[in-house]
Symmetry: C2
Subunit: 728 residues, 2 copies
């Protein structure tokens, strides 16, 4: 608590209304920087502790070790090739940024800003890639440890899986906080944080798309030939695609997801910081609060992660949820204390901002609960779809899609209400000039929702690790008991995943609403510098805004379509390859000892296909933003971003929830209902699951990132759009 | 031409800037009224001529006559029960309108307005119902005539189908023009036209939903048991659902579609009229132009319909398209002449409005062409999906959905650009006060797009008639040649349908953008009367607008889900009934002579189910508008309507195009590709078609109406929302 004390004296602007210049750092923000850096170092220590803890868990089984190495190598090969491709992309992007952003280097007086922006961008891509790399490294160790531990009991297996995931969680959120702090501290420029955020997001966009295409190509192909055509179990070692499937879990769900949440987290901080600075040019109190709350969130996540274990009663789901609840409660409590001690004033402004943040946290939970309702096999929707599957796959699809559509409403209403409440809470704050603090409230709601992201990532990364462990248990023939154990762990992962996904989408929703405010703020900074009129609204009655709205709304649909077609094309290639292997490799189908399939061929197809398909969709989203901006100017972009947010949220919620629902309907039937495995209902449910796979693991989760990237491109290019456009 | 002459002298306001009072009708608008009424009477004559022409076509085959009677009775029974239900609904709605709209009857000074509104509403519902009834009556005669004629040759069969459809086309558009003219002429109040439009739309909403659920329940069930399980041909008389399927074509595609286009057409005129009046309170020139162009559109459609016939070369598709092109060209030409002679002034204002209208016509065609690309079996998308079906139904669904998503972009961009261009064309018009004419330009683009709606409906209604004829040929055993003939006619119907559907969605898109302007105009009229501040924008940076945007965007998804679940539930009931009949009726499956299924049981299930499911979805849409309005006031409604438009367009385009694509992929495979009928690819394609059925014939086309209804509810309740709300 002692590090807080200097803050009290460090808030003249807030407490007494005196002014001090930004850039020459005040006492209070200096303390906030130190605190943020300290907390991120703490989280790295926790990550390291878990890493070595996982590493020293016993591993003795030779088969498992061998398969583990195959998965490890496959994942690293893909990651290396993906990063090589993305490095070239990032290089080109950095040069473009250097030359053009925030304004053409020849026109502006401040070339230093261009250099800062380009370097921040590269730093963002680097940290994002690093997060993915760390995640993969530990996940491909933890999977074998969890598999081995499952022969001993569920508790040690759970711990291996969870702590493996927590390495990722702590490392990602630690680097977010460290990165944002360093960039802001060194440049003193919130726009550079936008550049940093764009680096993180653009890498995440491609990593998520590439990983998502890889994993679903392998998953679908393995299921289609293995489960449907040949009737062999999931993860059967005879299946040539089975290693690729396990590699996919790592590159898609671990590395891709890590990059994704790194991106959301950075974007929410970037939006909040830009708005914080624009509110009051003479005070850094709002920026201090952003750093303080984010640091507290990470600290609470670290505590929650450290405390997580399976109790005597209650399964792994309970353990995961308990640690989430503990983190949430701790965060609400500690931030309340911090607000009371340091941020409050006579007008209760501190409480208003705290309230906005808590609204975010609350609505995040509500969205999670809704996602759970639509995807949990104890609830009516999954049961209904499982039952409809008896009449054939068309009904599986129709009813699943219908519930997916229904699931949109509560989340959209929740995001709408939380934005409204957060805005209204903060709008009355008088920041000393005429700027409205409402948008900052929305940004803080997003920060609140993402405060416990360290916990969310830990839970999320746990999923693919135990999924992998299940595969290893099957392939290593570790026996029925171990298989039951890993099945239970896997199922918990699926349940928790639905909730965290709802959380991630909700947070992205609020972040990008705040980014709309950021965009307007950037436009107005540029307008002031260029002596142009200030933009005060994006009016829906302006047909240029409406034009942007319509085009913006179409982009997420096209983006999803491109990714799904990528999976579709790629899976067809892999299915052909699996057929070839079963035809030409003698004894493979019969499981003759010593005969094993050519796993690497399948990994290679997934890799090459994913690398080919990952660029176009993301580039389409970026280029259409640029096109709309140069055609319609900032006004069209305002509409474009709103349309993009609305349709992105709609499709992301629909796809994630429908996908999760189909997955669990299939599992529900497999657990013996409606005829169980091999029945007609099961076959129909497998069709649903196959359709749902790219929904929930490729297109759906990439949409968050797509919308964020587009928002950041818009903010970064605000000045260019303002100065050069045809119809604006 | 002579009726135009007085117009020249009747335009003092436009030509010389003098003022004259609205309500006391000017010479010019009196002439416009007379012209509109004359043209609608002409169209009724054309409809009557076709009706008697169809009726006197030969019919001698006893089997066909019998089955025709079954279909006729089934359709009329459903329609009677549906209308009985809707009459009660309309009664309640009329009382509510009487009491509350445009303002509570006890608070306002003008109770006469409430009475006018309620009566206009009832008149709208009555005409809409009448349009459906006329359509059904002639379609259930024309189907037997076309079936019989197909034994003679394709030309007489085409004429029977087309002229049957044209009765509907002429009657619907004639009653639109007559109804709007009478309501406006008698009340002198554009708001009463909104009430009339709401009557038409609310009835259309339920009729479309009810008919859509009926037809797809029967279609899916018949296909699923007949084609998939038993492998008997489509329209096999042994199938208990086969008559219900044919009844469905009539109540869904003929009556429902008629009500739908009646509604779009009325709404576009209502929006244009309200804006026309608001532009210049002292002149009726803009209203005159609305009536004049609409009347010319109907006149040209009548000519196009009368000229339509199959030439020596070229099939039915060419004949349908040729008459559409002739109508379009005639319309563009005659309106240009009218503009030149009567509506132009020194500033070229007349040409600006004409230009806006022509842009609408042009973009409508573009959207049609895009729809055609995505659903035509000569184009890559259908081929790709057919090929993907070889790998199983999951790929049929995934690739079809992807193309459905892709198809959104060109249409959305097209609608956005046409709105932008129409706005910019008309914005410079100086109406003599400060009101911006841009929104009126958008309304006129919608009027332009819908000008040839008489032709569109004729083409659209042709489809189900020849579809029915095909069924009758099969059931009446009229031979292979007749079957080939009706197959060719049916296929032309499907191709043309995709194009006209694109047209209908585009027109609805522009209409509802204009209705957003109408809503604001209504709010401001009310604000002026209540001494409140004028509303000048719906700003996306206002979180109340954004809240509305998010909720509004979720509604079409929920609406679609409710309809699809309705079809899903209902079809499961009917499948069970078909199974029961095949099990308990001896000799049915074997086709023993004298044994026939209990057709009426299936008709009854479809009827009861549709009646049960049709109310909740529409009511949900209406009530959520009311809820958002009372919570967030007019500002939230502005966002709500925009969100509703965007997501409604997105889903409508996606569903219509994906559905059409799956349908044609199946047909493509059935025509002998990828293994033809009975192959695995065919089975997969049937799954796609079944999913697509409620997409393209239940949910997709109902979305237009849903969005229109919501917009009209908003405009009608504008004053209530303004005066009573919580957060506005």
């Amino acid at each position: 608590m002692s590090i807080f004390i200097p803050l009290i004296t460090g808030f003249p602007a807030f407490k007494a209304g005196t002014e001090h210049k930004l850039g020459v750092w005040s006492m209070s923000i200096t303390v906030a920087f130190i605190m943020a850096i300290t907390v991120s170092l703490i989280s790295f220590c926790v990550a390291l502790y878990f890493f070595f803890w996982v590493k020293k868990q016993p591993s003795s089984n030779e088969t498992i070790r061998k398969i583990g190495v195959l998965i490890h190598n496959g994942a690293n090969t893909f990651l290396r090739r993906e990063y090589l491709l993305l490095a070239r992309f990032a290089g080109v992007a950095a040069i473009l940024i250097l030359v053009f952003l925030p304004q053409p280097i020849w026109s502006g007086s401040s070339q230093i800003e261009n250099v800062q922006m380009a370097l921040s961008y590269l730093f963002g891509t680097f940290l994002s890639a690093l997060a993915g790399k760390i995640g993969i490294t530990v996940a491909t160790i933890a999977n074998t440890k969890a598999a081995e531990a499952s022969t001993v009991g569920i508790k040690p297996a759970f711990m291996a899986g969870f702590r493996g995931g927590a390495v990722m969680g702590m490392a990602v959120v630690g680097s977010t906080l460290l990165g944002v702090t360093l960039v802001f501290m060194i440049t003193g420029d919130a726009s550079a944080v936008l550049g940093f955020s764009f680096g993180a997001s653009s890498l995440a966009l491609f990593a998520k798309a590439g990983g998502g295409i890889f994993t679903k190509t392998a998953d679908i192909s393995a299921d289609l030939v293995g489960k449907v055509e040949l009737g062999i179990p999931e993860d059967d070692p005879r299946n040539p695609a089975v290693i690729a499937d396990n590699v996919g879990d790592n590159v898609g769900d671990v590395a891709g997801m890590g990059a994704d949440l790194f991106d959301s987290n950075v974007a929410s901080m970037a939006a909040a910081l830009v708005l914080a600075i624009s509110l009051d040019k003479n005070s850094d109190i709002y920026a201090v609060m952003v750093f303080a709350y984010a640091a507290l969130g990470l600290l609470c996540s670290a505590v929650g992660v450290l405390l997580a274990r399976m109790g005597r009663n209650g399964g792994p789901t309970r353990a995961l949820n308990m640690s989430t609840y503990i983190t949430t409660a701790l965060f609400a409590g500690t931030t309340a204390i911090a607000t009371l001690l340091f941020f409050n004033d006579a007008n209760g402004n501190g409480w208003r901002i705290w309230g906005a943040m808590t609204v975010g946290l609350l609505v995040g939970t509500v969205i999670g609960v809704v996602s759970d309702y639509f995807t949990n096999d104890n609830k009516p929707p999954v049961r209904y779809v499982a039952n409809a599957s008896k009449t054939g796959p068309a009904f599986t699809i129709l009813s699943g899609m219908s519930y997916g559509f229904l699931s949109i409403l509560p989340a959209m209403v929740g995001i709408g209400i939380s934005a409204l409440v957060a805005y209204r809470l903060c709008a009355p704050i008088d920041a000393g000039n005429s700027v409205n603090c409402g948008m900052f409230g929305i940004a803080m709601a997003a920060v609140g929702m993402l405060s416990i992201v360290g916990m969310v990532i830990s839970n999320d990364a746990y999923g693919p690790i135990v999924d992998n462990a299940r595969g290893l248990v099957e392939m290593g023939h570790l026996g029925e008991k171990a298989l039951d154990t890993t099945d239970e762990l896997d199922s918990a992962g699926n349940t928790v995943k639905a909730v965290t996904k709802g959380f991630a989408i909700g947070a992205a929703g609020l972040t990008i609403i705040a980014l709309l405010g950021t965009f307007m703020s950037e436009v107005n900074v540029a307008a002031a510098e260029n002596g142009l009129a200030q933009l005060t609204s994006f009016d829906l009655m302006n047909p240029t805004v409406f034009f942007g709205l319509l085009v913006g709304a179409a982009i997420p649909a096209v983006f999803s379509a491109m990714l799904m077609l990528g999976v579709d094309r790629n899976a067809q290639r892999m299915v052909a390859e699996i057929h070839r292997q079963f035809k030409t490799i003698k004894g493979l189908k019969e499981g003759k000892p010593g005969v094993s399939p050519e796993y690497d061929k399948c990994i290679d197809i997934a890799t090459v296909g994913a690398l080919k398909e990952l660029i176009p969709a993301g580039l389409m989203a970026i280029l259409s933003t640029v096109a709309v901006g140069f055609i319609g100017g900032p006004v069209a972009i305002g509409g474009f971003l709103a349309g993009n947010i609305v349709s992105g949220l709609l499709l992301a919620l629909f796809m994630s929830n429908a996908g999760g629902l189909w997955d669990n309907s299939k599992k529900y039937i497999e657990s013996g209902h409606h005829g169980g495995k091999g029945s007609d209902a099961h076959k129909a449910a497998v069709v649903g699951d196959t359709v749902g796979d790219p929904f929930k693991d490729t297109a759906g989760p990439s949409l968050n990132t797509q919308v964020t990237v587009v928002s950041l491109v818009a903010s970064l290019m605000a000045e260019l759009f303002l100065r050069f456009n045809i119809f604006g």
